[in-house]
Amino acid sequence: MTNDSAAVEAPPAEPSDDRDDILLSVRGLKKHFPVKQGLLRRTSGYLQAVDGVDLEVRRGETLGLVGESGCGKSTLGRTLLRLLEPTAGEITFDGVELVGLGAKDLKEMRRHMQIVFQDSVGSLDPRMKVGDLIAEGLAIHDMGGRKERNTIVHEMLERVGMPPEAAGRYPHQFSGGQRQRIGLARALVLQPKLVVADEPVSALDVSIQSQVLNLLVELKREFDLTYLFVAHDLAVVGYISDRVAVMYLGRIVEIAPSDELFRRPLHPYTKALLSANPEPVPGRKSSRIVLTGDVPSPINPPSGCRFRTRCPIAQQICSEVDPVLQDHGLDHRAACHFPGKPIDGSRSGSA
């Protein structure tokens, strides 16, 4: 366990081969949704929300998953908890293969993996009292008696910075930030190993966002947690994460330790995201890369590299050969035929 807490402070710079270090591992994960059209609702195609993702979440780390709407980041977060059934691929959690696991065994595994959603109104049943909402997990897993559950609920409320009276009230009586705290208490009550946080601060005002981010960091230390933090805001993801994976159209295009990714972005999409991020520092940006067009449809993604239709440095090869994630040292991988190639008008350096 001492290893784990050390990993929280300073993530290992080099990938470790030690399987014990990997809490969750995903191989070739795909999630396709059928697109139905016409009177007979025939399947006319598939929306390839997640299309071939390999990913490892290391024990004790926060892995950030960043990308724009429609890139598949939320679908990935849900599929790897098997809240959505994967179309293909393997998911290994703590040494157990989740794909094909029966309902009873899956329920047992779910104790160890929880999720917090962006929409705190939609994810908390308005007819349940906060105390019951938090204790629901305990009830489902038949843990503790009424009295014991009450004690745990009060402890959890205190840990997320809420008064004990909150247990007797309903979700609508709380603000967005407070409801997000309730969602966290609900997720942590079973003492999970992994928490998937899906845009947990995106709906909050900045002053409340910082409260919840600080709380997430504290809780992670206290409960020895591993986070998969899904969000669209690169500065927020970079702040809270040890490593960051950048997604585009169902694929991971770049993954690296947070500092390394900002210092040496290799994929042109990562560079564009970095330069598009508006910062409250006048004059900090000397120039910016403005991508043309919109994200293509995940029903019919471009051939070869999926980013090529918007890429400022795309060449012939990009439409022909689908680039795979390649190692560039310092725990840094990118899927690009021209990694680190300078972009005109860009302040980002080359590799």
Binding site: E68, S207, S210, L213, V217, H232, A276, V281, P282
Partner: protein
């Protein structure tokens, strides 16, 4: 430079059964011809109600109070007849909103909707109006506008729809464009496109912009002057450069410190502003930020501070009464 819009003592209240919600509670500012002002604040600060009040789009039970003055090129908009106001709205002053899907009518083509705005305010025929619509769509960077002019809103992406909204807003050459969270619903790479477009058009057409946003980053990129709102009031204003480098109001300071910048890490906790925005039904008697302020002292709870001049900036904080506060600039990691 000549003044285009002067808002003085703007007060807008919503008269509900629970009492009067004083959403905007005494706001003053001026925008010069061709100028750009950013109004920044969190939810409930009154920034959007300020914009809607200028457009006279406040519905009952909301009311712009009698004492308010909205001078636009020497004309008092606050008391203007609705008929006259209709000639100003969409013509001399235009507005774009956060949600381009709900602001566009789903059963008309985007071309029809831009033409409608043109025909309402300018004495032109159907043909000419459509040509103007195509011209506007080209101006806002919509590819093959001759074809897209017959598109319905649902056939376009969010970024394209916001371009249509901007095209519509600019179709009558307004002197002032009010943009209320114009990029909040968009992805960052599309946001970058729209911000660039708005900057370019402002330079080309010479119109003034009132930008309403919660995003300090967008303010820093778009405008030169900023007004920070809290609790229905402007608590600080000045040039973006000075204000962000040396915020004089503790709220501005805390806000800037609570945002993670690119490259900041969790090993340094973010500034958390404790508590929540007070209720507009019952503002605190003194400074409205006092209950959450780290620097608050006795006077703050009792007396509402006016805006004090601090060099080129203004700050509504008792600590600024006798001059500049020594505030550390925001920590930009190297």
């Amino acid at each position: 430079m000549t003044e285009l819009l002067t808002v003085a003592n703007l007060r807008t209240g919503f008269h509900t059964h629970a009492g009067v919600i004083r959403a905007v509670d005494g706001v003053d500012f001026t925008i010069v011809k061709g100028g750009a002002l950013g109004v920044v604040g969190e939810s409930g600060s009154g920034k959007s109600v300020t914009a809607l009040s200028i457009m006279r789009l406040i519905d009952l039970p909301g009311r712009v109070e009698q004492s308010s003055s909205i001078l636009f090129e020497g004309r008092e908009l606050a008391t203007l007849e609705e008929d006259e106001m209709r000639k100003v709205r969409g013509n001399e002053i235009s507005m774009i909103f956060q949600e381009p899907m709900t602001s566009l009518n789903p059963v008309f083509t985007v071309g029809d909707q831009i033409s409608e705005a043109v025909r309402l305010h300018q004495n032109v025929g159907e043909r000419e109006a459509e040509e103007r619509a195509i011209e506007m769509m080209r101006l806002v960077g919509i590819p093959s506008p001759e074809k897209r002019v017959r598109d319905y809103p649902h056939q376009m992406s969010g970024g394209m729809r916001q371009r249509v909204m901007i095209g519509m807003a600019l179709s009558c050459n307004p002197k002032l464009l009010i943009a209320d969270e114009p990029t909040t619903a968009l992805d960052v790479t599309v946001q970058a496109q729209i911000l660039e477009l708005m900057k370019e058009l402002r330079e080309r057409l010479g119109m003034a912009i009132l930008l309403i946003t919660h995003d300090l980053g967008v303010v820093a990129e778009m405008v030169d002057e900023v007004a920070v709102m809290y609790g229905g009031k402007i608590v600080e204003r000045g040039s973006v450069k000075e204000t962000f480098a040396s915020p004089q109001h503790p709220y501005t300071e805390a806000l800037l410190q609570s945002i993670p910048l690119l490259g900041m890490r969790y090993t340094t906790p973010l500034k958390a502003i404790r508590g929540m925005v007070p209720s507009p039904l019952d503002w605190p008697a003194g400074c409205r930020f006092a209950p959450r302020c780290d620097y608050a002292f006795e006077r703050c709870a009792d007396e509402l501070p006016p805006l004090f001049e601090v060099g080129e900036q203004e700050s509504a904080c008792w600590l600024c009464k006798s001059g500049r506060r020594d505030v550390q600039t925001i920590g930009v990691p190297s």
